[in-house]
């Protein structure tokens, strides 16, 4: 990444959304509990296949999810099911 050719630096600043704050907080809380480390989280982000398609906090959330499943704390299935339930409640797809 460092030194690669790239265009002008965009200066748009998006409003941080509540879910992004939450993503930050969960990551931090898990770290404080010793359940995941900064290095593990970085490694999980780097291993995301769709890294370039995701926003900064999407990468964070996806990496946290990956680690929780990897460590057997949560399962993909229960996250999928609960996320679907939440989206239904929000009236989304």
């Amino acid at each position: 990444m460092g030194g690669s050719p790239a265009g002008p630096i965009g200066r748009d600043q998006h409003e941080v959304e509540d879910w992004e704050r939450l993503s930050d907080a969960i990551n931090s809380a898990l770290g404080a509990r010793g359940l995941q480390s900064t290095d593990e989280h970085r490694r999980a982000i780097e291993s995301l296949e769709n890294y370039r398609d995701l926003s900064y906090y999407e990468r964070w959330a996806a990496a946290t999810e990956r680690l929780l499943v990897e460590k057997g704390i949560l399962t993909d299935r229960e996250i999928d099911e609960r996320a679907a339930e939440i989206e239904r409640r929000w009236g989304g797809p």
Partner: protein, 206 residues
Amino acid sequence: MSGHHPHEETTTSPYAARIRAIEALLLEKGILTEPEVQDRISYMEARSPANGAKLVARAWIDDEFKGLLLSDGKAAASQLGMDPEHPAEFVVVQNTPKVHNLIVCTLCSCYPRAILGRPPDWYKSFEYRSRSVREPRAVMREFGFEPPENVEVLVHDSTADVRYMVLSMRPSGTEDLDEEGLARLVTRDSLVGVSVPRAPGATDPG
């Protein structure tokens, strides 16, 4: 759930629901508690570039504090009531008439969040992370700043667990300003090093 206002969730990111799901599950299983999560949200909300501005303004008027800031950033931050968090190191680098410092994390966007809060979106961009190490002067030019030709530009890539912040030079014509007035000149961008503090009387938000 923490700060959950369904009618305000206007995002189309699928990760919004996923992180809420993760929160709900972790709370139900007792892996995290709601107060813990709230604490971490509050922790980040309490941090902002104003902290950096305070550190810089104090260093400008107090040589002893400046010495501490440059030799032990965390101790200096603690002295001003900030909680700089372990275990990352916090190092402040000084601009002089001979050198200008620029901070980046090419690998992931490390930033002294425990002092300054969240980094701006541009700091995390591929463009900034790619170009700042290779063409720092062109990058600074985009931010409206051009160091004099004889000034050396020093780029610090935060590749390990040291987080960096820039102590800019005090603008001239500020002899009459008090600490608070000085702090108001210190922009977030000057703490990263893409530009320098406002001149006294300047009105642009920088």
